[in-house]
Symmetry: C2
Subunit: 632 residues, 2 copies
């Protein structure tokens, strides 16, 4: 999977191809759409069909299971994919109808114009056919602005349906029983009744507790929401570096990441042609794209942090906003007085953005221009509806540095900046650590809620120990699941290559699946209505030896099947009432089923049968027992 450096320059518009592995539907899965109040609100879901359960009384149907689907049109066989043309602009009409934007006749960023005029880039440039938009003079085009005026946008309705795909599932009796038993103090009846409505989405966005990253120049995006009263989301980082990978690789990583469940993708490119790479990614992405604009700004001054200026940064924001980036990480909380607080740390400043700004501050002995120009930045954000992801430039890079003075000083500042952004109706989420031992995780969540007024938290991990490079997807999934349960709205994945190298496609998948586990474990622990339906369905399939259903319902059907088939490759084994762990005569699931079958044969309910069996049927059970163990 390694990318030879020589591939770097070879990508062109002519040889761009779709990754065929990433455009097949998953096994036994079908893309369906739920229509909203208007014909063009079509909310995608993945339907997983199950086989019947064979019982002594004939076949018992198992309902299809519906799961949240981030993979976009790629897994829809009815859509023709050509990455040279990008995805259909799903939201274009909605944006247009609002009448508060105008089509630009030329790009506003001088850097964009320069790249556009460079003939050397012609071959690799995405052939942009989509008009570029900007808010009409004085207009504010953020979803927060609409929400605060009481407007329910099509995006909000789309999101309500999307999160709500679980509505039908909560009718699942098993799930309801469990919710009542496992969350006795909470009134889930009420939540289920009035579960996610478009009004609820609007209200959460209006008060800042959730964001909808949806740049008006990224109409290809399928609306999604980040907030702690919704499903926990995950982000996958991709991006080239000076040492490897091409545009093609990055587009493939994006389609690969969303196939396995990435809710947003951050393009963290720092290598060559990052303007062009980004254009290709955005035009082909059905999920919101985030960036860290300071990375590109630094490239523009040849890596010399002290030469950065507000003007260069401003032009970069506009460049990226007009391409359609949905959220910007901005490290505006790295203030001059906080930098000395990091001097005695074990690992100093580990955030790239943070260290760039720290260096700039020291060189100029000035407050960071991100901080002093924060209101100017808000003006740009609201003209395109780019959301803030306020960066944690002083996050701890080791267990030793966790929860220190520098980290929390910055967090407090991020809370102050949140209030300024909200004054402009600009959407905000807050980035969080990093490296934190388990017992210090809750303090991070509690202080974030307090200082940042419940703006959504978006954390990297946290890693709960430093001693396992090569396994940091796991050290961090532990922290991610916990902080997700405590209230974090989105988890930024960590791959096995963290601290060691650039992730390839295998690493991207490992990171995604690991973080889907963390996010789902958090949804279960939060008591998200319906989250448990998939667990229940998979457990039932497992118990009934419906091996294919067990694979198909899992987060990674390919791997589950592959692992099973290593020991029992024969297709017949998928119907067998045993597996290779215990062999044909020694399966506890089978024994329990035998007990139940016995009860069923007697024509009495299970519980009564067991009790009666204890009282009267002991001998009869022994007689029939021999047969129950006969080989399959």
């Amino acid at each position: 999977m390694k990318t030879p450096v020589s591939k770097l320059e070879k990508f062109t518009n002519d040889n761009a191809r779709v990754d065929t592995a990433a455009v097949q539907p998953l096994p036994n899965s079908r893309k369906i759409y739920i229509q909203g109040s208007r014909a063009d609100i079509q909310v995608p879901m993945r339907e997983i069909t199950q086989s019947d359960t064979a019982t002594g009384r004939g076949a018992e149907k198992n309902p299809p299971i519906y799961v949240y689907d981030t993979s976009g049109p790629y897994t829809d066989p009815d859509t023709r994919i050509d990455i040279r043309h990008g995805l259909p602009p799903l939201r274009e009409k909605w944006i247009d109808e609002r009448g508060d934007t105008e089509i630009l006749t030329g790009l506003s960023s001088s850097y964009s114009l320069k790249r556009l005029q460079d003939p050397a880039l012609t071959k690799m440039r995405f052939n942009l056919m989509r008009p570029v938009r900007h808010a009409r003079n004085g207009a504010n085009v953020t979803q927060m602005h609409y929400a605060r005026r009481g407007i329910i946008t099509p995006e909000m309705e789309f999101i309500a349906l999307r999160e709500n795909q679980r509505r039908e599932r909560v009718a699942d009796l098993a799930s309801n029983e469990l919710l009542n038993r496992q969350h006795p103090g909470q009134s889930f009846g009420a939540i289920i009744q009035e579960w996610i409505t478009p009004e609820f989405v609007r209200d959460e966005v209006a008060c800042g507790r959730a964001i909808i990253p949806a740049n008006i120049n990224h109409p290809e995006t399928e609306p999604m929401i980040i907030g702690r009263n919704f499903l926990v989301k995950i982000n996958a980082n991709i991006g080239n570096s000076a040492l490897g990978s091409s545009i093609q690789d990055e587009v493939e990583k994006m389609t690969w990441a969303i196939r396995w469940g990435g809710d947003t993708v951050m393009d963290l490119s720092t290598g060559k042609n990052i303007h062009e790479t980004r254009e290709w990614i955005i035009r082909n992405s059905p999920v919101p794209i985030g960036t860290v604009p300071i990375y590109q700004a630094l490239e523009k001054v040849d890596g010399k942090a002290e030469e950065l200026t507000w003007e260069i940064f401003r032009d970069t924001l506009i460049e990226q906003a007009e391409q359609g980036v949905d959220y910007f990480t901005i490290h505006a909380g790295v203030r001059l007085p906080f930098i000395p607080m990091t001097a005695k740390r074990m690992t100093g400043i580990v955030s790239r953005g943070g260290s760039i700004m720290a260096k700039w501050c020291l060189a100029h002995h000035q407050e960071s221009f991100l901080y002093t120009h924060f209101e100017d930045i808000c003006e740009i954000m609201k003209a395109y509806d780019v959301s803030f992801s306020l960066g944690d430039g002083l996050r701890p890079g080791s267990i030793y540095d966790a929860n220190d003075e520098a980290q929390f000083a910055e967090l407090k500042t991020l809370g102050e900046l949140t209030e300024i952004a909200w004054k402009h109706d600009v959407q905000v989420m807050i980035e969080g650590p990093g490296h934190v031992p388990m017992h210090l995780i809750r303090e991070n969540m509690d202080l974030q809620l307090k200082y940042c007024h419940e703006a959504p938290f978006y954390t990297l991990g946290p890693l709960t120990t430093d001693i396992a490079p090569g396994y940091d997807h796991i050290t961090s999934a532990i922290g991610a699941a916990m902080i997700g349960w405590y209230g974090t709205a989105m988890l930024c994945y960590v791959t096995p290559k963290e601290h060691l190298g650039l992730p390839d496609k295998d690493d991207v998948k490992d990171g995604i699946i690991t973080y889907k586990i963390a996010a789902h474990a958090a949804d279960l622990a939060k008591g998200h209505p319906g989250a448990q339906v998939r667990d229940n369905a998979l457990s039932k399939a497992r118990f009934e030896f419906r091996w294919n259903d067990q694979f198909n319902l899992s987060l990674d059907p390919d791997k589950a099947r592959e692992f099973h088939d290593e020991t029992l490759p024969q297709e017949g084994a998928k119907l067998a009432h045993f597996c290779s762990m215990c062999g044909p005569n020694f399966c506890s699931m089978k024994i329990t089923q035998d007990v139940r079958d016995y009860a069923a044969q007697q024509g009495i309910s299970e519980t009564v049968a067991l009790q009666e069996g204890m009282a009267r049927k002991a001998n009869e059970f022994i007689e029939k027992g021999g047969e129950l163990y006969s080989k399959q």
Copy 2:
């Protein structure tokens, strides 16, 4: 790594070989021994040497780091390994000196005698030269019995030194500072002063809060302790099934598991020749071996649970106790009245032992013979010092079934049985779930402590979601780390193959490393003095670009190096002040270091420099700044 079924019968005494991959010391590591109060108390540790830090003021030494070492003599180049002869009987003299055991002239188990007399097994039989011991008439040879009489055994002293290898490390200033900052409510000064003493070990064993699994017939074992006031331990399951793997494979899995950190190993074989397989494993194992004797008993009645008898089970206990099994999982809490409570579960009874006993109870309409003969079992246990691992036969097998009536009814019974065992001075730990969503984990720990009088808890995971077969090492590591933090003393690993197939060596390693992460994260969160020294050392190495030290200090040096080298294979890159993630000009760690170096060049302390820099040196910094970014 798949084992063809045809290999099953091919193993013999003549072709037994050691796995050479598992007998090399880890990189830059050396086995050292700390001597106790007598010459034959030699406590092994692994010393990891570090390279110096290059600074502007010359080389700065980095001290060696000492880590707990479970790998036994295998990683000691001075020891000759021949698995046909087994390991040296380290504890033999200690056992002998106590004068409360006698050498048997013949084996006490009729099954053992039968196997011994079967000429077909000659070739594969381990050539046992070690005498078999039994308590002298009426004697009680358990470590708990000694502890309660105030005796400190050599085993206890060995353990104190072993857990205490961290004593010198807590002098590490960084660690102390952190402990004071991160656990402000706790007085770590006091804990560090009187950290693990032999008296403390004795007292913890005496009150039942910790166990030392150490059968008098397993003198090869290096003493270790399981209790919540000690380092969190992990167990690795191995064992053949009817469908695969040979004696050689299982011995290799054992040496492989302890190489990566397995503190105990359970042999869960259910296939062929499990008596002989077990003998080979025990004779070659420096860690305690656990089993589930009911598995073998069931094989003896051809898999017909209802034909099990107390006599067959009793003979199996004696057979295994005389081989040297250190702890037995016994599902004595599966009582007749609890079985109907499982009828409406999603996944019934998933414990193999639990389902066997449930079937027996129903067939006979009687209380389980494990329950009715519990005191008889205690009599056997105390004659060999086998510890109880009271099995959770009714543990939940799905999120849906977590924390239900059946599970807690059994747990309460296990508490009653604990009191009976303690009456006999027999050591006890309690097995725990299973599948539990995060928000229900703490209740498991709290009730276990309450019902079972603080006997050590030994949990399988728990898995925090059911939807990720193929990744259940991760779904369960989340739960394992949390419950370890809450107080679980030993974590039973889960491999990626869980629910799907028999783990091979790669899976065993993945399971072990994942669980070492969970256990270590728990040690950190519990504030275990010294646990963080390894994190600190690794983070410092990372920050200083000492790549080889970073690899060598990690749980899996091989993988860390392999991942790094995928992108930067040149040996020179191990000295480079960057990695492939950001490339040579864009490393935040490097930027922070540049800032510090700048301060050092000025001959002033960092903090002052940063502050002065802000006040006066801004221009100078800019001038010199250009150079700081020059390419390496």
